[in-house]
């Protein structure tokens, strides 16, 4: 029969243990509900990841394909890049709108 007793220290350790065990399991469970690959879910190599395709539209309406890797520190597939890239491209001269093809959806973002 165990002779261990509950002490404040034991209770604190039990709370930490239970909380961490819950987080270790729960976080990746929640991540399975997100599109692949999701952060914090141990979803390494779970799908083919691509960076978005982006075009800029000038004042005349002509579109030009952009190399967006020049903006990226690291092209992580978990990131929804659209609004961030649009913000950077709209800051360039003569750009009226940005078209982003990302995660199977195409969006046209007007520059302010």
């Amino acid at each position: 029969m165990s002779e261990a007793r509950w002490t404040p220290r034991t209770a604190a350790h039990a709370a930490i243990f239970t909380t961490l065990a819950f987080l270790i399991v729960a976080i990746p469970v929640v991540a399975t509900q997100q599109p692949r690959p999701a952060r914090y879910g141990w979803q390494m190599y779970s799908t083919v990841s691509t960076v978005p395709e982006v075009w800029t539209e000038d004042e005349s309406g002509a579109q030009r394909h952009e190399d967006i890797t020049r903006f990226m520190g690291d092209g992580r597939a978990e990131i929804v890049w659209g609004s961030f890239l649009a913000g950077a491209l709209c800051a360039e001269d003569g750009i009226r709108a940005v078209v982003v093809d990302e995660r199977g959806a195409r969006e046209r973002i007007e520059c302010p």
Binding site: T10, H13, V25, Y45, R76, L85
Partner: protein, 387 residues
Amino acid sequence: MPLSALRDRITRVAEPRAVGVARAAVGVAAILEGLERAPILERMTEPGTLSVPYVAGQPTILVVPAAVIVIAWVVLAATFAAGAFTTQTGISLVLLLAAVLFSDQQLYSNHLYLLIWFVGLLTLARSGSALSVDAWRGRGRASVAAWPIDLLRLQVIVLYLFAGISKLNLVYLSGTVVAVSLRQDGPLAVPAAWRSFEVMAAASFVSVLAELGLAVGLALPRWRRAAFVVGLGVHATIALWFDPTLPLVIFGLMSLGPYVLFLHDRPGRLSVVWDDSCTFCSAWVSWVRRLDWLRVIRLVPSSDARERERLGVSLSEADEALQLVGPHQRSSGFRAVVGILEALPLSFLWAPLLRFWPIQRLGAATYRRVAQRRKCGLKPRASRSSG
């Protein structure tokens, strides 16, 4: 979990040496991870690089020069690996790594996230209690709380479980991910002709089975030996045949290091009776003593009649071959050698392979030949000594 069982789990103690080995391995992985992340940190601070915060206006560590971040990272990781001021360096390293991870969405990496968990749990486990500078300075401990070690084991199991579960999708199982991830050039490049749908799909299924199998195998003591070999195989395979190499080597070291926590590390759990009248055997035994970092092996010279008989080993048995006696095992000769190798941190991952029939047979024959032909400088048996 009933409260009494929880209380018992929280109050259990464990040997500190295994967690010290895990600390050293994870610390080395942390050093390499810092060096591997350095170019990305450098790029993040260049003008023109997008900032992708989690929350607009959030604080970021990127106001600090990348070189300073990397130097601090490597110094803390090296200090943690050596087990110097382990609690302080562990906490500092976790805070630094978390600051990097959460400063910008582009800085997220699964390896970095895993490193934070491992360093944090190893710090909680007081992993500087043994095999460390702290222990050498007299700050070692004879035992540590077992519950952080249980959490480390849980994290390793969860890692493989969800790595496997997340691959249960049509894109992965079609073989596409494997095909595009395989090495494209160099001596280990997989030829394009081998990247057929059938081969790649089969490889994908096998990889999912391997990861799920690892989660189950590590969780069940009966299957752990097999899991050690599978884990070594999985990480060696992806490091050799997948791109990019360095991150996968680091990931392998980071993941395999904590495997030592799945070993039974009770001191003196295994008794090895050896012929102490033979200098050849003495040389071999001295190596075992050096590599038995977990101190699980108790070396009993055959001249110690009382201890030898307590273990149920006769003098003729001890003279004929090495004898291994454990809680639920008794083996001799080559099988005893395998049992010893399965208990040593440097060999436990691959030693179970020696039990496969062709290797086992060859090993037994080699052992017998070596035992028959050994050139022993005979020395008088000690009257009484212990291992």
